[in-house]
Structures are given as structure tokens and as C-alpha cells.
Amino acid sequence: MFELSDYGDYVTAWCPGCGNHSILKSVKDALFKLQLPPYRVLFVSGIGQAAKAPHYLNANVFNGLHGRSLPVATGAKLSNPNLTVIVESGDGCHYGEGGNHFLAAIRRNVDITIIVHNNQVYGLTKGQASPTSSPGFVTKAQPQGVFNEPFNPVQIAVAMKAGFVARGFSGNEEHLSELIQQGIQHKGLALIDVLQPCVSFNKVNTFGWYKQRCYMLPENYDPTDRNQAMLVADEWGDRIPLGVIYRNDRPAFEQHFPFLESGPAAIRSVDMRALKEIVKSYS
């Protein structure tokens, strides 16, 4: 039996009031509720304020490069499928620098859970636009306001038939914890896009701004209806839906490698007899 405290309690480098604190709390709560042993969980992150999150809890951690957390997590999971692999990084990391990996990861459908801290701004580099910033959002890098159409990760994921697509809000920790638990339990790639305020660099999408717009998908909402999910995923602006927006039961990528059932790579012996036959075939 693990206590909540087994998942760690650390001093962070985040601003007071940052949504990251709540997300971290929800992540720990989800691990605790699922009673996952910290030493069988691997967090992989990139670079950004969000990517520091794994340093503030007890688990295995690989804090890699900006945008590259998904490939690292993919390699890790395929090497040791017994690990619960959770990827945690920001909107810049996943949707900007790592955009190609995001698309490929959805297609591949490895059994990993992606938690995206989406605050619609770059925090670590002090306030440039992110791929999810709204048009007109003024920053020092975009003094005339953002020209580009924002990236809608949830709708892209639904369009690509991701197995589990959810949106949470740092202002609703309990709900977010539930989404993370469901995401971890889903066999295949799970995307949880988490809206969060950045108190220092985003004065538009504040806690109040989200609070006013976010609503819970109703009990009778059917997340397996993809057409409906596409419409729900398109909602943004005055009303922003929270919850599991879409799910399906696509087989996880690992199922294509039957030998993974015999255990992690580290303990799988090399079949030298088979190799000998292979070498012979070159004669």
C-alpha cells in the first residue's frame, strides 16, 4: 500500500499561482489512486517549465530534449513494456518542436500517456507565442499579435483516431486526476491536453478566463462517436469542453511484437541458434 507521500513532495521552481502546481498534484493523486509503485513508473519529459514536473515527484525519470520526449518514451516502452510510461511536457514541446513526433506517436499508438501542460504561451523563454496561442495574442516576439491559426491538438488527435483523447483543466484537480487515471489504464496512446494559466506571461488566458468557459461533457456523452467527437473537439472560445472527448480500442503498438510478452529487452536472451541459421543462409 502506497501513501500519497510516497510519490514525493518537493520545492518547485514555478511561480506561485502557476497551473503546474495543480497538474503535479493531480498526477501524484492519479498514481496514488492507481497504487502504482513509483519504481515501476517512468516519466519522460522534454524542455520547458512543464517538463520540469517529473523532477518534483518520485519515479524513474528521463528528462530529455525539447520536443523529443515522445521518441524517448516510445523507445523506452518498447524496451520495457512492464513500465508505466508517462510523458509530461508543455504545448511548445509537444505541438511545436515535437510536432512530427506527436503525429507519428498517435499513428503508432504505443501504450503511453501524454500529459500536455497547455498554457498557450512559452514560459521558460519568457513569453513568446506557442502553437496554441490565439490569433492576436501580443508578445515581444509577435508585437503585432499572433497571425497564425492555433493548433487544435484535441481535434487533430480525434481526426487521427487516437485511442484516448481527453481535455482537463488545472482548475479542476479531481477531474484531472480521473482523466490521468483513465489515460494510464487505456491500452494504447492516451492524450490528455490540460489547460492551465500562466500567471507571468499569459494575461489573456487567465484562470478566470478558463473557469468561465470550461464545461464538463455530460454523463450521457458517447466518446466512441467519432463524428460527434470531431464537433466537440472543434469547440473553442466561449465554451470549452472538458472530459474524455474520444476513445476507441485500437490495438496498442506493442501487440505487433509477440516476443515482448517474454519480457523486457534486458532479460530477453539472444537466440544464438537462430542467428547461426541466419548466418548459414548467406552461404
Binding site: 517512468l42 523532477h55 523529443r68 521518441p71 523506452a76 518498447l78 524496451s79 507519428a104 511484437f257 552461404s283
Partner: protein
């Protein structure tokens, strides 16, 4: 008198069945006990283009390709136009009568009357079998194996064409001496450099290979993919090379010895990941199969132009090792060595090959698989609790633990067994730090691995008299050519030696300086235009090699190229 050697060049368009023709002949030749070296030259396209296979066959061991052609098998006019000038004295040209190139010395084969169109290459196998004087039933057996994937009618039609070609040639008198018979002393296999790398990786216990296809590295991954399920290897085509190396790092972090094969452009994309492997101290093996650059360059040709890039790729300072196999056999053994080195020192290791060696087939002894060790990633001794991923040690190497495991690969059972790795500068426990004194200690820790790496370096192969008049210096794929040149020079009374590097980083400068200083004249031979290796040696040893023999037209360095430069003073190309 029978020939002890023959150089057969088969040329034509892609799609004409060159591969089948060459492979049947090659395989049969190897089984009949001859030594063989097959080099390929091709255009970057699937159909058309001019492609050649050069089969150098000998009754004694050979190490390099040859430029003069004894038998030119021309499947199209272009082959005749491009290569008739390469014909040796007494050489012959075999071509299709339908090409209507009239010359009395040409062997014009009436393929149309011998076989249906699509089986003509089987007929050509028959013709060449008879010209070379190969043992007919042996070739027939290989051909049958080869065609057996097709339907029975196809096999029969192909075999009939083969017999028709053979019979036709028998009936036509030819003034070309047959090959002396060879004796098969021990079984040999026929692999190219890339296949040898793939087999080497499988033999050491590689468990994952991530790649994005890029010529001339692709066939490494393709060979691994072919055997992946059976060997329990995850082989996955990544979305790009950035992903490939990051996947490999993630896999290796969790206990899979991992390989990423690529060429220069892909390696450029991997530079950031290379640095990540250096910082996180994650073992990873990168194969850099070179082709001429810059940029897209000549995709299907050869060059050794990425040496300085491989030495310096990746931001920041971190130890690395670079191997460069000098033969197909070395491709196998040095791939193993690359994995061992990466695992022992927890660093990225680069294996540099090039298109010439990648595609070069050689008959080699079957690798003694039974006697080979595999990498064991499980730490046997009990770990310090809590585990410190980056524990500061004298060697700079920290005891390694895999996430999710305790020592000896028992499943983890305590939060003292957490593994934390970071691309930021970090403390011993792997968490990010901005403490400058820790930073300095970590830099020194990583650098200390270099001392260990130097102590196990593969010294260059030094062959020939102790104080030679001429010392040829080379690295990587040019070894065979340099070797042959030295043999020839020695036979003609020149006091020649060679110094060949199959590990190009780090370099043991004391050992190397001594050898360089003893020679009267030193010449560095390499496939690039700026003499990158000569510069590296100068930096490391202070020895300035003034004379270089370079080649940068995309063709491999042949013994003849070196001899022309040495004797005739021809210019580099």
C-alpha cells in the same frame, strides 16, 4: 594456361535483372572455393540508369576491387560505350546480338533464340559459367535455389535458358582462358559490409534498431528488419532521424542495446541526440554510412568526407569513440566492439563506413556465432541505495541501473531504486542543478571516461618493414586497396609499409608518432578532397603528412588509383 584471376563487369539498366545474374554467379563462385569481391555502382533510381556489378574472382585472397575488366557483360549499349575502354589486354565483351554492335572480338550472343525475353539473364548466367569454366552443376544448383521462390514453370523456364546459354557458349570457340579450379578449404559465406554490420549487431545482443531510410545505410536496417521478429529485436522506422536517435536513447536507457544506422544528412539531424547521449551517459551505436556531400550530394556513390563532422558533431564536450571498419569482416567485428565500448563507457559510439564498403560483397569465414558473447545489461552487484545515476567515480563510469529493475535484473521493489537521467546539468542523483561546482565535477567525470577509452583503443594495423621508404596511411574502407598496393610495391622491391586505422577516435598519439617518424616518406590515402585524416593526425601527433592521395569523384579508391598517383603523379580527382 588457366587464369588465376578474372574481373567480370556486368553492366546494364536497373530492372534488367542484373542483381539476379550477379548474385547467382557470385554465390556459385564462392561455393566453388574462389575468393571474390563484388563492388556495385548504381544510379539513384529504381528503373533505368547505368548500373554495374564488378566481380573480381581469384584463386587466392583478394582485398580490393580492380579497375581493368577481363569480361565485360553488357546488357545494353551504354555499358559497351562506357566500359570498353577498361578492357584488359585479352579481355572480352559479351553482349546481346540484338544490340547490333558489330566487332569481331565481341561475343555476340543470340539471346532471342536462346530464351524468352524475361529469362535472358538465366541464359547469361549459362554463358558466363562456360566462359569462366565454372563447375556447371554447382551453378545450376544455386540458380535453382534462387528461382525457387517463383512458380515451377518459371523455375523450369529459367533452368532451360541457363542450359541454352551454356550450350551455345560451348559450341562457340573462344580465346579466353578458363579459371584455374579452386579448392574449397572451408565453407565461406557471402555478405556485404552492411549485412555484416547487421549480423554483428544481432550477434552482440542488439535489441532495438531505429532508422529512417537513407542510402547507403538502408540495407543495414533492412537486414535487421528481415530477422527482427525471429531474433526478438524491435526494428522500427522512425518518422525522422531525430526521432530515431531519441528512440534509441530511450530504449537503451531501459536496457536495449540500440543501433541507429544513417548517412550524413540523417546524422546531421541526429547531432542534438548525440549530445543527449553524451550528457545522459546513455550507450548508443550510430552507423554513419558515408556518401559524397555536401547536402544530398551523390546519394549512391562513396566518400570519406564526414570524418571531421563525426569527430565534432553534437554541442558541448563529451567523450565518444569512432570506429571505421576496413573490410567486410571488420564490419562484423567492429560493430560488436562498438556496442561493447558504448556499453562499457556509457557513451555514444559511431561506426563509420561508406557506400563502397556498404555494398561491397566479400566471401568471408562464417562468423563463429557459438563462441560469441552478448552484452549483459544487468548489474550483478547490489546497488547503492538510493541509486545515484551519475555517481562520481575515478573512471567517470557510474554503476548502471535500469528503470524498473533492481540489480541482476530483478524487478525493482523500492523507491531507492529510481533511475533519474537529465539532459540538463545534473547532480549525482540525476536531478537538474545550476550549482557551478557540481557542474565542474560532472564535466570532469564525463571527461575521465576518455582516459579509459584511450587505454583500450585499437591501435592501427602496422604492416611492412620497420623503417620503410614509403609508408601509406589510411583509415576505414580503403584498407584493402592500400594493402594490395603495399604487396605489389614490396614484390617489386620497394620498401613499402602501411599504417591503417580502424579506430579513428581516440588515437594513441605516442604509438602513432613513433611509427610515422620512422618512415622516409609518408603518404595519407583517403576518399575526400581535404585530407581530413591527415589533419587529425597532425593535430594529435604533431606529425605533418605533406603528401596525400585523395579521391573525391565518388568512386572508390582502387589500388590502381593509388599506383597512378604514386608512379605517374596523376592528379587527385
Amino acid at each position: 594456361m588457366p587464369n588465376t584471376e578474372a574481373n567480370v563487369l556486368i553492366g546494364g539498366e536497373a530492372g534488367q535483372g542484373l542483381v539476379t545474374l550477379s548474385q547467382i554467379l557470385t554465390r556459385a563462385i564462392v561455393r566453388q572455393g574462389y575468393y571474390i569481391m563484388v563492388t556495385q555502382s548504381y544510379h539513384s533510381r529504381i528503373r533505368g540508369g547505368h548500373n554495374t556489378y564488378a566481380l573480381r574472382i581469384s584463386t587466392s585472397p583478394i582485398t580490393a576491387p580492380k579497375e581493368n575488366v577481363d569480361i565485360l557483360v553488357a546488357l545494353n549499349k551504354e555499358t559497351v560505350q562506357l566500359h570498353s575502354g577498361e578492357l584488359s589486354a585479352g579481355g572480352i565483351i559479351v553482349l546481346d546480338e540484338a544490340l547490333e554492335i558489330k566487332n569481331e572480338s565481341y561475343v555476340s550472343v543470340p539471346f532471342k533464340s536462346l530464351s524468352a525475353d524475361k529469362y535472358w539473364n538465366a541464359a547469361a548466367v549459362g554463358v558466363v559459367t562456360e566462359i569462366l569454366g565454372l563447375e556447371m552443376t554447382g551453378v545450376e544448383k544455386v540458380a535453382r535455389e534462387f528461382f525457387s521462390k517463383h512458380s515451377p514453370e518459371h523455375v523450369d523456364a529459367n533452368m532451360e535458358s541457363f542450359a541454352a546459354g551454356l550450350d551455345w557458349m560451348k559450341k562457340n570457340d573462344l580465346k579466353f582462358a578458363k579459371l584455374a579450379s579452386a579448392e574449397l578449404k572451408e565453407p565461406r559465406i557471402m555478405v556485404n559490409g552492411n549485412e555484416a554490420i547487421a549480423l554483428g549487431a544481432l550477434s552482440i545482443g542488439m535489441k532495438s534498431c531505429f532508422f529512417y531510410p537513407m542510402t547507403p545505410a538502408t540495407s543495414i536496417s533492412m537486414t535487421i528488419c528481415e530477422h527482427a521478429q525471429g531474433m526478438g529485436v524491435v526494428a522500427e522506422q522512425a518518422e525522422d532521424e531525430i526521432s530515431a536517435i531519441n528512440m534509441a536513447i530511450g530504449a537503451s536507457f531501459c536496457g536495449s542495446p540500440s543501433l541507429v544506422p544513417t548517412s550524413g544528412g540523417g546524422f546531421a539531424l541526429m547531432a542534438e541526440g548525440l549530445s543527449l547521449a553524451g550528457m545522459t551517459e546513455t550507450p548508443v551505436v550510430i552507423v554513419l554510412a558515408q556518401r559524397p556531400g555536401p547536402s544530398t550530394g551523390l546519394p549512391t556513390r562513396t566518400e570519406q568526407g564526414d570524418l571531421e563532422f563525426a569527430l565534432h558533431a553534437g554541442h558541448g564536450e563529451f567523450p565518444r569513440a569512432i570506429f571505421a571498419p576496413g573490410s567486410v569482416e571488420e564490419c562484423f567485428w567492429l560493430t560488436r566492439k562498438a556496442f561493447e565500448t558504448a556499453d562499457e563507457f556509457k557513451i555514444p559510439v559511431i561506426l563509420m563506413t561508406d557506400q563502397y564498403l556498404a555494398d561491397c560483397y566479400n566471401s568471408v569465414k562464417p562468423f563463429a556465432i557459438d563462441q560469441l558473447k552478448t552484452i549483459d545489461v544487468c548489474v550483478p552487484e547490489p546497488i547503492e541505495q538510493p541509486h545515484l545515476t551519475y555517481k562520481i567515480t575515478d573512471s567517470g563510469i557510474s554503476p548502471r541501473l535500469l528503470p524498473g529493475f533492481s540489480n541482476s535484473c530483478v524487478v525493482a521493489h523500492s523507491s531507492d531504486e529510481l533511475v533519474v537521467a537529465d539532459s540538463d546539468e545534473h547532480t549525482e542523483n540525476g536531478h537538474l542543478t545550476e550549482d557551478l561546482s557540481i557542474r565542474a565535477k560532472m564535466v570532469e567525470k564525463r571527461n575521465r571516461k576518455f582516459t579509459g577509452l584511450k587505454s583500450v583503443v585499437l591501435n592501427p594495423e602496422s604492416v611492412g618493414p620497420d623503417a620503410p621508404d614509403l609508408l601509406l596511411v589510411s583509415w576505414g574502407s580503403t584498407k584493402g586497396s592500400v594493402h594490395e598496393v603495399c604487396d605489389n610495391l614490396s614484390n617489386s622491391g620497394v620498401k613499402a609499409a602501411y599504417l591503417h586505422f580502424s579506430q579513428i577516435w581516440p588515437i594513441n598519439s605516442d604509438v602513432v608518432s613513433k611509427i610515422l617518424n620512422k618512415a622516409k616518406e609518408v603518404v595519407c590515402v583517403e576518399s575526400n578532397s581535404t585530407g581530413q585524416f591527415a589533419k587529425l593526425l597532425r593535430r594529435e601527433t604533431g606529425f605533418h603528412i605533406e603528401k596525400t592521395i585523395l579521391r573525391y569523384d565518388g568512386a572508390p579508391i582502387t589500388p590502381q588509383h593509388i599506383m597512378n598517383r604514386l608512379e605517374l603523379g596523376t592528379k587527385d580527382v
